[in-house]
C-alpha cells in the first residue's frame, strides 16, 4: 500500500520531534487526514502500529486520527467552495489519492469556473499534536 510511506513519515517525524524536545517516550500523535487525498484511517493506523515498533520510545505511541473537510479559495473571484469526492470517477479519484495537487485538473470554481484556486484545507496528511514524557 502506498499509505505505508506516509505512515512511515509520521513515525519518523514523531521520532525526530522526540529527539529534538528531549522526550523519553511519545505517548500520542494526532494526525489529520484531508478529504482531498482520502487516506483510509484504518490502513494508516495499521501501518503506523507496525512501523512504530522500530522507533525507540514510540513502541506504545497511540495514533489519534482526525479528518478534515476540503476547502478551496478561488484565486480569480475569491469564492470559497467545497467538493463532493464521491462524485469523482474512480481513476480520477485514485490519481488524486496519490497526488492531491492533480485535483485541480478536474474541478473548477462553482462561481466563476476558474481552474486556479488554492486548497486551503483538507489536502493531505499533517501532524496536529505530539504528546510525550520527558
Amino acid at each position: 500500500m502506498h499509505e505505508w510511506a506516509l505512515s512511515d513519515s509520521v513515525a519518523r517525524a514523531a521520532a525526530a520531534v522526540k529527539k529534538e524536545k528531549g522526550l523519553k517516550t511519545v505517548s500520542a500523535v494526532t494526525v489529520v487526514l484531508g478529504e482531498v487525498q482520502d487516506i483510509a484511517p484504518e490502513v494508516f493506523k495499521e501501518n503506523f502500529d507496525e512501523l512504530k515498533k522500530s522507533h525507540k520510545g514510540l513502541e506504545k505511541t497511540e495514533l489519534k486520527i482526525e479528518t478534515e473537510r476540503a476547502a478551496f479559495d478561488c484565486n480569480n473571484c475569491g469564492a470559497h467552495f467545497n467538493f463532493d469526492r464521491s462524485k469523482l470517477p474512480h481513476e480520477t479519484a485514485e490519481d488524486i489519492h496519490f497526488m492531491p495537487e492533480t485535483l485541480r485538473f478536474y474541478i473548477t470554481c462553482p462561481k466563476c469556473k476558474s481552474q486556479d484556486f488554492k486548497i486551503s484545507a483538507g489536502r493531505g496528511v499533517y501532524i496536529k499534536e505530539i504528546e510525550g514524557e520527558k
Binding site: H2, S9, R12, T92, E94, E101, T102
Partner: protein, 243 residues
C-alpha cells in the same frame, strides 16, 4: 502544531541512491529532457542501476521521449512500500504524468513544492547507482526545493551556443555555487563543431558535446531508434565524470 511529516522521510527514501544528477540549464528548450533521457538510457544500457525523475511538471517530456503512455491502464507505479516506479528499458521511471491523465498541469509554485515533496516521500527507489532528475527551466520552486531536499544532487547544465542560453546559465551556476551546490559540468547541445562554450564556462568541465541531429526528432518515442542517433553516441563521454 501543523507539521508536515513528509519531509522527514525523504532522506530515508534516497539513502540507497549513490549519485543524484539534476539535469538543468535554466533556459527552456536547450535539450535538458533529451540529455536526461539519453543519459539514463546510456547508463542503464551499461548495467548501471538507474532512475529517472521528470520534475518539469508543466512540460513533462520524458515519457514522450521514451515512448511510454503513463496511466493506470498502461504504465503505472506499483504500491509496494509507497510507490515503486515501473521500469522502462531498465530505468526506474517516475513522473507526475502517471497521475495527470494527459492534461495540462497548471500548477502554482506552492503546488510544485507539494508535489515534489509528495513524490520524494512516497517513491520507493530501492538501490540505485544513479538518479537523473529532469529539471524545469528557471530557478523556480522546483530548483530551490531540490537544492534543499536533495542537497547531494549535483548539477549538470545543458547549454547551447546561444548568448541567451549562456547568459542565463552563467548567472544560474553562480547562484548554485553561492548556495553550496556542486556543478558536475556542462553538456553543450546543438553543437556544429568544436567546443563552443568558450571562456565563459572555463571553470566547468565539458562533459559532452551533442551535435545537432536533424534525424533526432523522428526517433522520439522509440528507444531503439534513439540509441542509434548521433546524439546518443555523443552522450557517452559524459560517463568518465559520472559515478
Amino acid at each position: 502544531m501543523n507539521l508536515d511529516p513528509r519531509t522527514f522521510a525523504i532522506s530515508d527514501r534516497i539513502k540507497n541512491i549513490k549519485k543524484i544528477y539534476a539535469v538543468t540549464g535554466f533556459k527552456g528548450g536547450v535539450g535538458k529532457s533529451t540529455a536526461a533521457c539519453l543519459l539514463a538510457l546510456a547508463l542503464s544500457a551499461k548495467g548501471v542501476k538507474t532512475g529517472l525523475l521528470d520534475l518539469d511538471f508543466s512540460g513533462s517530456s520524458c515519457h514522450v521521449i521514451l515512448g511510454v503512455t503513463p496511466g493506470m491502464k498502461s504504465l503505472f507505479p506499483s504500491e509496494i512500500q509507497g510507490l515503486t516506479p515501473p521500469e522502462v528499458a531498465g530505468i526506474k521511471f517516475m513522473s507526475l504524468a502517471y497521475f495527470t491523465q494527459n492534461r495540462a498541469a497548471h500548477l502554482r509554485g506552492e503546488d510544485v513544492t507539494n508535489s515534489i515533496i509528495e513524490l520524494l516521500a512516497v517513491t520507493n527507489w530501492g538501490n540505485l547507482d544513479a538518479l537523473i532528475l529532469d529539471m524545469p527551466p528557471g530557478i523556480s520552486d522546483a530548483a530551490l526545493d531540490i537544492m534543499r531536499l536533495m542537497p547531494k544532487a549535483e548539477m549538470i547544465a545543458v547549454v547551447t551556443s546561444s548568448i541567451l542560453s549562456q547568459n542565463l546559465a552563467v548567472k544560474a551556476l553562480e547562484f548554485c555555487k553561492n548556495s553550496g551546490v556542486k556543478t558536475l559540468g556542462i553538456i553543450h547541445n546543438f553543437t556544429r563543431g568544436g567546443c563552443e562554450t568558450g571562456e565563459i564556462f572555463a571553470e566547468f568541465k565539458c562533459l559532452a558535446k551533442l551535435p545537432y541531429d536533424k534525424n533526432f526528432e523522428a526517433s522520439i518515442g522509440d528507444i531503439e531508434a534513439l540509441k542509434r542517433t548521433d546524439v546518443y553516441a555523443a552522450v557517452q563521454p559524459a560517463f568518465e565524470n559520472l559515478l
